[in-house]
């Protein structure tokens, strides 16, 4: 959709079409630490609805201590305000707890293209077979270097074939 369509309309409150537009706006807000994946790709936008004349947006944090939580809230708020939503209420909700299973297919592809191996398997159905694929050469002959990486959501891996170290987005 051309960005021109995202510019303010007169009185959006209550219009269900505006909900779709709000989702499209949020789909363009990128995660501040992994700037190729949007808030909707990450699966942290849980709800967008009209409530008492206000656009209510429910976000969920990825990790309890994620330092980007407030930043994300601010980015979402200013993107929606810029798009003409004047009455926006952003709420944080803990339950159900965020899982990497909510990362979209497109989000996974974008992570990989950015050099971060997307989460393997499903958090809901944990499996022992957890071959992490190197995002550079696609080899599954990789090893874990440390269980934590540059941010809480990642672990550090290395490819045994192309020898490149890379981040792996942990499956939780």
């Amino acid at each position: 959709m051309p960005t021109g369509d995202l510019i303010a309309s007169d009185q959006p409150a209550g219009d269900p079409k505006e909900i779709d537009r709000a989702w499209q706006v949020l789909d363009l807000v990128m995660d501040p630490e992994v700037p190729v994946i949007s808030l909707t790709d990450l699966g942290i936008v849980r709800e967008v609805e009209w409530r008492a004349g206000q656009l209510r947006v429910v976000l969920t944090p990825t990790y309890s201590g994620c330092p980007a939580t407030e930043h994300i809230e601010q980015s979402a708020l200013s993107a929606l305000t810029d798009a003409g939503f004047t009455q926006v209420q952003i709420e944080q909700q803990l339950a159900p707890a965020w899982t990497t299973d909510w990362i979209s297919e497109r989000g996974r592809e974008r992570l990989k293209a950015y050099g971060i191996a997307p989460p393997v398997g499903s958090a809901a159905k944990p499996s022992l077979d957890k071959a992490v694929e190197c995002p550079l050469c696609s080899s599954t002959n990789t090893k874990e270097i440390t269980e934590f990486g540059s941010t809480a959501c990642k672990a550090l891996y290395q490819c045994n074939d192309c020898l490149e170290p890379f981040d792996y987005f942990k499956c939780i």
């Binding site: 944090p61 990790y63 309890s64 201590g65 994620c66 330092p67 803990l94 339950a95 159900p96 707890a97 965020w98 899982t99 270097i145 440390t146 269980e147 934590f148 990486g149 540059s150 941010t151 809480a152 550090l156 942990k170 939780i172």
Partner: protein, 253 residues
């Protein structure tokens, strides 16, 4: 000493324990044995700060005297802290750091598992969120206990010494009968009476795989984090952690 209701006291115990453990981990910035280890220790600390905030925001709302979660952390003195005594102990060598982390993680895991089914929906939500993170913490600290315990002669001996050194403080993991009955009856901590048993099973399994000897159950004494009766270590932690917001009350990022 002022006491709040049981639920608020529990929130303070969970929040303060996570906060003090995180603060101890932060002391290792620039001092961990390897870069990867340091990144891991700080990430565990970061998770715990986030969890502490969730618990203490809830506690602050219940206390409702105008104090925020930040105020609780930076403007309470030692006797008002409710953290486990274990987490305030000094980091020692890497063996002691991991022994403390492991004993805390295994207690934390058993506690959060119970709290996921709490009758209080907000507690259940914070617990479910935290449990995902703590499962990861426990797996990592267990691996270190096994690697060092079942490693070289020296690492084995030092890991055993580390467990023996901090084991004493695990007496707090079994709750006094009056709390147990109350917290279980109100379904604040479902399964509170089996918590110690579940913790003990995890610890036994890991120590045995690590070829380490599990000490005798630790005896209760006059100290109690729950009562605000702390070891001297907590005062030093708070002095460092609270200095800036107390000296410069309007300081901001």
């Amino acid at each position: 000493m002022h006491r709040y209701d049981d639920l608020t006291e529990l929130l303070l115990q969970l929040g303060d324990s996570a906060m003090v453990q995180a603060q101890r981990l932060c002391e290792l910035v620039g001092g961990a044995p390897a870069l990867e280890e340091e990144v891991a220790l700080m990430n565990v600390g970061l998770d715990l700060v986030g969890q502490a905030r969730n618990w203490l925001e809830y506690a602050a709302e219940r206390i409702a005297d105008g104090r925020s979660a930040d105020d609780l952390v930076f403007h309470r003195d030692q006797p008002e802290y409710r953290n486990l005594l274990l987490v305030e102990q000094p980091n020692g060598d890497f063996g002691v750091t991991m022994a403390k982390q492991f004993l805390f993680d295994s207690w934390h895991y058993a506690m959060l598992q119970s709290l996921c089914d709490s009758a209080d929906a907000r507690i259940a939500a914070i617990a479910a969120k935290s449990l995902k993170e703590v499962t990861y913490h426990l797996r990592r600290s267990s691996e270190w206990i096994k690697r060092l315990g079942d490693g070289t002669d020296e690492s084995h001996q030092r890991m055993q010494a580390a467990i023996d050194q901090v084991w004493h403080f695990t007496f707090e993991f079994s709750m006094p009968a009056e709390y147990l009955t109350e917290l279980e009856a109100q379904q604040i901590i479902p399964g509170a009476s089996t918590l110690h048993q579940r913790w003990s099973e995890t610890v036994s399994a890991v120590l045995s795989e690590a070829t380490l000897t599990q000490p005798e159950p630790a005896a209760r004494n006059y100290l109690s984090g729950r009562e605000g009766l702390h070891t001297e270590s907590l005062g030093y932690i708070l002095a460092e952690m609270q200095f800036l917001p107390r000296a410069y009350p309007d300081a901001n990022w």
